[in-house]
């Protein structure tokens, strides 16, 4: 009986849970930052000092001065943004169809969507390279984004489907009765209500593209994304420089999540205002 338990032990459990969850996400970031900012010595030191002295931005500076880093970052941003746009452009309508229309093969379609993820990209590498060269999208952010969109769309579709299923059909019907077509009803009623979830799906697509390295490495030569670029440049570099690269890699993801967080947590409730 949880009611009979004294509140103090509940609170202890709560805080223990909070601590574990925080450590789960923050500890790796902390170690990464330590390696990036602590310089050569701390990287190889064990045990790590909890609050190290002598942190400096020097390694980061060195890293950012590496030729091509900024260019690769820009390519990554372009590819991730394109991935996001394509995943949503396909996933939102597909999710709506899955949620609202009953059609033959809807169940099979749902499974097939997931099956696309089961196909190994490694096998596709060569044929993709060949056809991308033919299409003229090889070594472009668009080419990378095309492959990343294939990976991100299934998730976006299924997330959107469950989002739309969670929005009562009566709301849409009310919109139709009061002057909306199916499309304007979607824009004015369904979309605003689904926005928090769609923000989550877009984060996923963005971060997936940002972090993906295999397809990006195979499909680019000069227009490398940041991950692909770092993989080729940093594998030869000293450890602390690699850590600096890792830290830089997580910054945009964190920034992007921070930007959409309001949408992520905004529920149309009393707490909203």
């Amino acid at each position: 009986m949880s009611e009979a338990r004294p509140p103090s032990s509940n609170r202890a459990l709560l805080w223990a849970g909070v601590a574990v969850l925080c450590a789960w996400t923050l500890l790796p970031i902390y170690l990464l930052a330590l390696g990036a900012l602590g310089g050569r010595e701390i990287v190889s030191q064990w045990p790590k000092p909890f609050a190290p002295l002598g942190l400096s931005l020097q390694t980061l500076g060195t890293f950012l001065a590496i030729e091509g880093v900024w260019r690769a970052t820009w390519v990554s941003v372009k590819a991730a943004a394109l991935t996001m746009a394509m995943a949503l452009a396909l996933g939102v309508p597909a999710g709506y169809a899955l949620a609202r229309f009953r059609f033959r093969g809807a169940g099979a379609y749902r499974v097939l969507i997931l099956m696309t993820r089961a196909f190994p990209v490694a096998i596709l590498a060569l044929p993709l390279t060949v056809s991308f060269i033919r299409l003229g999208v090889y070594d472009t952010p668009l080419g990378v984004a095309l492959v990343h969109a294939v990976l991100a769309t299934p998730f976006a579709t299924l997330v959107c489907a469950s989002l739309f299923m969670g929005i009562p059909k009566e709301l849409e019907e009310a919109a139709w009765v009061f002057g909306c077509s199916r499309f304007t009803g979607f824009l004015r009623v369904v979309l605003p209500l689904a926005l928090p979830g769609i923000a989550a799906a877009s984060i996923f697509a963005f971060v997936l593209s940002w972090n993906e390295v295999f397809a990006a490495s195979v499909l680019t030569v000069r227009q490398r994304t940041l991950t692909a670029y770092l993989l080729s440049v940093l594998s030869e570099s000293p450890l602390h420089l690699q850590f600096a690269g890792g830290l830089v890699l997580i910054v945009p993801s964190v920034l992007f999540i921070f930007l959409v967080r309001r949408r992520l947590f905004a529920m149309w409730g009393i707490g909203n205002r």
Partner: protein, 355 residues
């Protein structure tokens, strides 16, 4: 303002027949209730009128215009949904203004209409809130205001009060009646609650199994049910039905001989409202009733028991009047009001000439 004509509308969902060729006319400004148990097709019929569902055959006219093939937005109607369906991301004001905005009304007209509808429903103080901050009753008011703000030719209501608690429902019912009679809009109101239908409607259409059993004013429906189903569905307690033998032009009601109605077969069904039965005075002819349970319901006493060969019978007596000894198993002599006998054939259809 417009009339509604429903012509031979049928609806099937695959093999399942939801509506079987329904004909119905609602006059301009009339308030019609569609009454029936769940699954009788009343909501399907309403949704077909709204355009949210398409009929399999038949057509729907609003005014003189055939709207059968038009989407909901082009039918010139408004609707109040069972679960209110107020838009949670919009304020009350934006909700009420929604239909007018979609119709591209100018700002001044929108403001005036919203103000009028809000005043009618007493929600002026809530206009800047979001629905999540409102109670169920308040949301219901917003939903009704949203519908009235567009000044629709036709108003459709799908069990609008069924999600409210009993006390609030009673209050909203009275208020709805006042508001709607002031607006004078042609209204179809779907409900499974017969007291709601009786209290609100000009006419009631009682539905069962995809067809309309009877259409009439509340008193016609109550006093002269066309079928056994209608009598049993409307009224609390429902109408009693006793199956009685006919011999030599006489019907035998548990020892009391009644003149057989014209068109009676070997057996007839006698429909009797509980309040149309009274205690037989001493030395008066009557029929025997064996009491099982007596319940005091405020101004009335409800007696449940059996009569005419073990058939169940419920009677309602005024609590203030003379009462028999209310002991279970006791025999009581009763007499029906001869002017209010409802005769039906064995299949449960009213016999012609029965009052």
């Amino acid at each position: 303002m417009a009339s509604i004509t429903i012509e031979r509308v049928a609806k099937s969902f695959g093999e399942v027949r939801a509506l079987a060729e329904v004909d119905l006319t609602v006059a301009d400004g009339e308030f019609l209730a569609l009454l029936g148990p769940s699954g009788c097709g009343k909501t399907t019929l309403l949704r077909i009128v709204a355009g949210l569902e398409s009929q399999t055959t038949g057509r729907v006219l609003i005014g003189a215009r055939d709207v059968s093939a038009l989407p909901p937005r082009k039918r010139g109607l408004a609707m109040v949904f069972q679960n209110y369906a107020v838009f949670p991301h919009l304020t009350v004001y934006e909700n009420v203004a929604f239909g007018l905005r979609m119709a591209r009304a100018d700002k001044a007209r929108i403001a005036a209409q919203v103000e009028k509808a809000a005043a009618l429903l007493h929600i002026e103080a809530l206009l800047r809130r979001h629905p999540a901050q409102l109670s169920g009753g308040q949301r219901q008011r917003v939903a009704v205001a949203r519908a009235l703000a567009v000044e629709p030719a036709v108003l459709l209501m799908d069990e609008p009060l069924s999600n409210l608690d009993a006390l609030l429902r009673l209050e909203m019912r009275a208020e709805l009646k006042a508001v709607l009679s002031e607006a004078g809009t042609t209204t179809i109101y779907v409900t499974h609650d017969q007291t709601e239908a009786m209290g609100l409607a000009d006419r009631i259409a009682v539905m069962q199994a995809g067809r309309i059993e009877q259409i009439g004013s509340p008193s016609e429906i109550y006093d002269r049910p066309a079928t056994r189903f209608v009598g049993g569905f409307v009224g609390s307690p429902p109408m009693n039905f006793l199956e009685l033998p006919v011999q030599d032009g006489k019907v035998d009601l548990g020892g009391l001989a009644l003149a057989a109605p014209p068109g009676a077969g070997a057996r007839v069904l006698l429909g009797l409202r509980g309040e149309d039965i009274a205690l037989a005075r001493p030395a008066e002819a009557g029929f025997a009733f064996t009491l099982k349970v007596a319940e005091l319901l405020g101004p009335q006493v409800l007696l449940t028991g059996v009569a005419a060969g073990g058939q169940p019978l419920r009677i309602v007596l005024p609590a203030a009047g003379p009462l028999p000894p209310l002991t279970a198993g006791g025999d009581i002599l009763l007499k029906p009001d001869p002017a209010r006998l409802r005769w039906m054939n064995e299949a449960g259809k009213a016999l012609e000439g029965s009052p």
